[in-house]
């Protein structure tokens, strides 16, 4: 979002701040790592199968037997929460990769080819005019709701943000002397784009991708909550909260734990994104 493309210029951070930033990067990485490990190893860790119905044990509060309680079908919330992590992370990661693929391509093309720039830049501007959730909802509505369409929709929604950064940087880099030199030597354009331009862009792209990852996970949760995203029987943190909505006030654990999982995942991604920005690219450092 406006974060990286903002015009603010950094002051010189003090030592305390630097340590603090690194520490938060560390915390972010640890939390994110833990969530990923839980999700990936869910089949080994989960005490119950995530879709195992046990209607007699429905709506049991958290206890030694069900650490996070059970839902309205008697399914174990802890098991579902970590399994849901798989899909929530998958949606976030896949949407981010797709956004990166589209965004980087568009950005490079726009930055490099003057003729294309007018149109591509317009498209990027126009895409940014749609609020993310609204555009995602409409795309899912047009494509028909499923896991894949949610990923595609979010990928399209977030692509312009990367495209904008890539375009802006490409416009600067292409004027640098060594690129001019490479051109003069007859190196093919696509090669210059990949070898010289993209290499310079790895850091800002990585930083932005981390944030997109976080937004995409939040957006997926919102879509699922609204009932216009992933099919409700697929456990993601969003669908779990949507299901628990009926029981707020009588079985709060149904919304509490998946909610905490989302907050932790998104927060850790933001910490990592911030930390990466500091670490990888001092030129881009901002106190944002």
């Amino acid at each position: 979002m406006a974060v990286t493309s903002s015009p603010a210029i950094a002051g010189r951070p003090g030592l305390v701040s630097l340590v603090f930033q690194r520490k938060s990067l560390l915390i972010g990485l640890v939390v994110l790592g833990a969530i990923t490990v839980f999700a990936v190893l869910a089949p080994l860790i989960a005490p119950y199968a995530p879709n195992r119905l046990s209607v007699v044990n429905r709506l049991q509060p958290p206890s030694g037997r069900w650490w996070f309680g059970t839902d309205e079908f008697g399914r174990d919330i802890f098991s579902r929460t970590i399994y849901a992590g798989q899909l929530s992370l998958l949606v976030g990661a896949a949407a981010t990769l797709l956004a990166a693929a589209i965004g980087i391509t568009l950005g490079l093309v726009a930055g490099f080819f003057r003729k294309a720039d007018g149109i591509v830049a317009r498209i990027i501007d126009a895409m940014m005019a749609f609020p993310d959730i609204l555009l995602a909802i409409s795309l899912v509505a047009a494509l028909g709701p499923s896991l894949a369409t949610v990923i595609v929709a979010l990928g399209i929604v977030y692509a312009p943000r990367l495209a904008r950064i890539v375009r802006a940087s490409t416009l600067i880099i292409r004027e640098l002397p060594y690129i001019e030199a490479a051109r003069a030597l007859g190196v093919p354009t696509w090669r210059i784009m990949l070898r010289h331009v993209l290499r310079n862009l790895v850091s800002p792209i990585l930083v932005q991708a981390t944030f997109i990852f976080a937004y995409a996970m939040l957006a997926e949760a919102s879509l699922s909550f609204l009932g216009v995203g992933v099919s409700p029987e697929v456990p993601t943190w969003g669908t779990m909260i949507a299901a628990g909505r009926q029981y707020v006030g009588s079985a709060d654990w149904m919304t509490l734990f998946p909610g905490i999982a989302i907050v932790l995942a998104v927060l850790s991604l933001q910490l990592v994104g911030d930390g990466l920005r500091d670490l990888l690219d001092p030129r881009l450092r901002k106190d944002l």
């Binding site: 976080a214 909550f225 907050v263």
Partner: protein, 313 residues
């Protein structure tokens, strides 16, 4: 300057035009005959044929597109299938809660973000700064619907301080209607305060290091005066930009928040429209909201010219 204004205006028109094109493409991308999709499975073959003709679907794509543009220029956003009324009227009917929800959220977000951001920048690296920065990041990580559910439970159900849902009955006065917005606006305000806090802090850091602030300080001005009069005044413009853009982004948050609080706003309408397969409404809402965003952007740019005499192009 006039040239800049004209150029910027033409740019805005071009973006609007692209927005319209994108919406056209999204609706055409929907699988199946758009007329059949729009009318739903209950439609008779005759109904579909009539709509096909009305939408000009039998003609080449480019002509369809021109026709679509023509309709838009006449202010015709089509007819809602479910509500059986023009899309524009349906949107207009729901503009009020969305407008005030957005406005209040911005006010609440700013009321939190500006003081916190300024203080965090002023005491950078302090415990306050660290806590504020972390909290801002935390706020940006909370799904607004989750926070909304918690707020309803605590403040509306347990304490009965605010209404649980809706926007008041037929005879609800303006004030009563607005009272329905306090809880949703607080939810949305908190979630969106994060971005403004971080931005305020960054902008303040930026100017606090500037020469004129140092000069003011060296002249023995009071700290409060230095911070507020010199630094904050100069940091204000980028901050206002972010607030303006956040307002537009808030529409996204409004989609979710309105649904949680059953507010009959534009966002709620879009979600219902998706569930009801009411494509003309989705199309109309997308167009209007994106157009507003482009317009707000343009207005902010123009305000720069008025507010900040340093901006010259």
């Amino acid at each position: 300057m006039t040239r800049y204004v004209i150029r910027r205006f033409l740019g805005m028109i071009a973006v609007m035009f692209t927005v319209v094109t994108i919406v056209f493409v999204i609706v055409r991308v929907a699988p199946g005959d758009p007329a059949a999709v729009m009318l739903g499975p209950d439609a008779t073959a005759a109904d579909i044929a009539t709509l096909r003709e009305k939408l000009g679907l039998d003609r080449p794509l480019i002509l369809q597109y021109l026709y679509f543009l023509g309709q838009l220029l006449r202010g015709d956003l089509g007819q809602s299938i479910f509500l059986n009324m023009p899309v524009l009227s349906a949107l207009a009917e729901r503009a009020e809660p969305t407008f005030f929800l957005t406005l209040f959220s911005i006010l609440i977000a700013s009321a939190i973000a500006l003081p916190v951001g300024i203080l965090a920048a002023y005491k950078r690296g302090s415990l306050f700064d660290q806590v504020a920065t972390t909290l801002a990041m935390l706020a940006a990580s909370i799904p607004s619907f989750w926070l909304g559910l918690i707020f309803i439970q605590v403040f509306a159900v347990r304490f009965s301080w605010f209404p649980v849902s809706g926007y008041g009955g037929p005879d609800a006065s303006f004030i009563v209607r607005l009272s329905h917005l306090i809880l949703p606006a607080t939810t949305l305000g908190i979630v969106s305060s994060a971005l403004i806090t971080r931005f305020t802090r960054a902008s303040m850091l930026d100017v606090l290091n500037d020469d004129y602030v140092r000069t003011a300080r060296s002249k023995g001005m009071g700290e409060f005066q230095v911070v507020m009069k010199h630094a904050f005044k100069n940091a204000l413009i980028p901050v206002l930009t972010v607030i303006g853009l956040t307002a537009a982004l808030l529409v996204s948050g409004a989609v979710v928040t309105e649904t949680v609080f059953s507010l009959p706003g534009v966002g709620n309408l879009v979600v219902s429209a998706v569930l009801r397969r009411d494509y003309p409404v989705i199309q109309g809402a997308l167009l209007v909201i994106a157009a507003l965003y482009v317009l707000i952007n343009f207005v902010i740019d123009m305000l720069y010219l008025v507010v900040d005499p340093r901006v010259r192009y």
